[in-house]
């Protein structure tokens, strides 16, 4: 049995919107193992984004526990969570979310700076990562000088900056044409092949089907887990 990297135990998230209580997650249970490729699918409003925030340590649950490598992180301080995120999880967002005033190279360097890695080392690594995603000739371009596909590849390089074990991709192809989307998916799958744990949050069944395990989310709970038959 491979090691469990993230484990969600009876996780609840309740939002208060005025007088209305919204139960975004209602007792979510999920274990994700080392090196696994898991997709989380569901219609809008099913709690996809909230569960992604929980898995990515971007938010803490109202109730329940989240274990990252066996350590309960559900009640840690935001700054401690930030450190854990920076080291363990790489994010790929639907809208790329690059810093518009920084070049591709500087964007990739950024996560390493928050881990107090020296500038020289960080830049060297950022260069090799950008080369790996095929953007060696685009390092000094700003996001607005790059196509959507290129921006998403920069953000994949950024996700890899601190060599995290987990890559969390939220609708990574949502803003891309199909050719760029395929390229991005290929890159992500290659990362999985290289041993990364890949978690893909999407509403596209076709993408979700590529995962080893597909978790169907509905009303804040996992209603179905499908394993891919190879």
């Amino acid at each position: 049995m491979t090691q469990t990297v993230i484990s969600l135990k009876d996780v609840w998230k309740v939002y208060h919107m005025g007088d209305v209580r919204v139960n975004a997650l209602q007792g979510l249970n999920l274990d994700i193992h080392q090196g696994e490729f898991v997709s989380i699918v569901g219609p809008s409003g099913s709690g996809k984004s909230t569960s992604m925030n929980m898995i990515g340590c971007l938010d803490i649950p109202t109730k329940g526990h989240i274990f990252l490598y066996g350590k309960d992180i559900a009640h840690l301080h935001e700054s401690d969570l930030a450190q854990i995120r920076g080291r363990s999880i790489g994010f790929v967002f639907q809208k790329f979310n690059l810093i518009s005033t920084l070049t591709a190279l500087e964007n990739v360097t950024l996560p390493m700076m928050f881990q107090d890695i020296s500038r020289e080392d960080a830049e060297e690594r950022a260069r090799s990562l950008l080369t790996r995603v095929g953007l060696a000739d685009r390092m000094h371009h700003r996001p607005n000088e790059l196509s959507g596909g290129q921006q998403q590849r920069v953000s994949i390089a950024r996700a890899l900056a601190n060599d995290p074990a987990i890559i969390l991709a939220d609708e990574p192809t949502g803003n891309l044409d199909s050719a760029s989307g395929e390229l991005v998916m290929d890159l992500l799958k290659k990362l999985h092949d290289d041993g990364k744990t890949l978690i893909l949050v999407t509403h596209e069944a076709e993408l979700a089907d590529q995962a080893q395990r597909k978790c169907l989310l509905k009303d804040g709970k996992i209603v179905k887990i499908q394993k891919r038959r190879d």
């Binding site: 935001e78 930030a82 450190q83 690059l98 920084l102 700076m113 928050f114 881990q115």
Partner: protein, 405 residues
């Protein structure tokens, strides 16, 4: 981290050029005002210090009560006998006196009011008077003691056309009813009674103005080496009270030392400086509020970026320092421009003062503490103004920040 902060801050500012410049406007007006005002008043202080050090610390002056280096008041009177009494006091090396009155000077037909000072005939007294007056010859020479038809003129008469023509050595001018030959021209010192005054022999002056032999306006003494200035001053006051038959507290004279005068000047300057700095501080406060406003806008605009940075591992304090750095940079950039502007401004004032008004007292002085202090203060104002916006940025929850549109 520091390099990255700088990069991020600088890029942010450069990205919003117009807004950054407008924000800095408040700071650089404030800093320019501080730098210009302080450099000019420091320059003035230095000039006055120099003036007083020329007079020397071993002098004590006596003036009729109610005068402050200007003209006589009606009731109070000093006499030549007073001078002789003071010269005999233990601790006093020598004493001198001189008279000055308002008179009229003319080259051809035009009469112009002028300060006239009578220079004593006695060589020792003359030397002391000239030393105390800080009268330096720029061209020509002093007349000999008792030489009644010569005059030394203040610099203004030679430099500008106060009379029909500029005066030069050898010219013949009329002072009141007497005719005098110009034999010397003084250096400018910035005091109108010297620069716009004329100097003639004392006896000649007493005749021309119809003064008796006793009346005088000023007594100056030089202390013996090592004498205690306060003790001698006290003795002089006692002696003059006896001579004038007045009680303590009702004196019709004032005994002053240059140090006292300097202290008075310094006190006045400090007040003026404090007021000026107060005004500049208000401008800096407004500038600071401008920075705060800009930083709040920046935090709002970059909420999503803050979310991204937090997602990729930025701690609260990383975000805090990023924004503090940016606002500090705004302040400091404003400070640099402000210092340059302020230096230019005070140099300009100095130039106008010396070229147009001929005043050597107005000069710009840039002590290093002023430059460094102004820069540090501008940075401090920037950082301080950024504290609240940066704190707001640091406290943002990553999920909320990422979701922000």
């Amino acid at each position: 981290m520091l390099g990255q902060s700088f990069l991020y801050a600088a890029r942010g500012l450069a990205h919003r050029k117009l807004r950054s410049w407008l924000t800095m406007l408040g700071i650089f007006i404030g800093i320019a005002a501080v730098v210009a005002l302080i450099s000019l008043s420091e320059g003035l202080k230095v000039a006055i210090d120099e003036q007083f050090s020329k007079i020397g610390a071993d002098k004590i002056f006596v003036l009729p009560k109610g005068t402050f280096g200007g003209f006589e008041s009606d009731a109070a009177r000093l006499t030549v006998s007073d001078k002789d009494r003071l010269a005999r006091i233990p601790g006093v090396d020598e004493a001198t006196t001189y008279v000055f009155k308002a008179g009229l000077i003319s080259l051809e037909d035009e009469n112009v009011p002028v300060y006239v000072t009578g220079i004593p005939e006695d060589a020792q007294e003359r030397a002391l008077s000239i030393e105390i007056g800080t009268w330096e010859i720029e061209s020509g020479k002093w007349f000999d003691g008792g030489d009644g038809d010569k005059v030394v003129i203040g610099n203004d008469f030679a430099r500008t056309e106060i009379l029909d023509d500029r005066l030069k050595l050898g010219d013949s001018v009329k002072v009141n009813d007497g005719t005098f030959e110009v034999v010397g021209i003084l250096t400018r010192i910035g005091d109108p009674s010297t620069d716009g005054g004329v100097f003639i022999d004392e006896d000649m002056m007493r005749d021309a103005f119809g003064l008796d032999d006793e009346e005088t306006n000023f007594i100056g003494v030089r202390l013996q080496r090592g004498a205690d200035i306060a003790v001698v001053q006290e003795r002089m006051e006692r002696e003059l009270r006896k001579a004038h038959d007045v009680d303590e507290g009702k004196e019709d004279f004032e005994v002053q030392s240059p140090e006292e005068l300097l202290a008075t000047f310094t006190a006045i300057f400090n007040i003026i400086q404090a007021v000026l700095i107060g005004i500049a501080a208000i401008s800096l406060l407004v500038g600071g509020i401008g920075i705060m406003n800009t930083m709040y806008t920046a935090v709002l605009e970059r909420t999503q970026e803050i979310g991204v940075m937090k997602a990729v591992g930025a701690r609260n304090r990383d975000i805090l320092s990023l924004f503090l750095f940016e606002s500090g940079l705004l302040g400091m950039a404003g400070g640099v421009v402000g210092i340059v502007l302020g230096m230019g401004l005070s140099k300009g004032v100095e130039l106008v003062a010396s070229q147009v008004f001929g005043s050597p007292l107005i000069r710009a002085f840039f002590p290093i503490y002023l430059i460094v202090g102004a820069l540090a203060f501008a940075f401090f104002v920037g950082v301080l103004s950024g504290v609240l916006p940066a704190y707001q940025a640091a406290r943002l929850q990553p999920v909320d920040a990422l979701r922000y549109e």
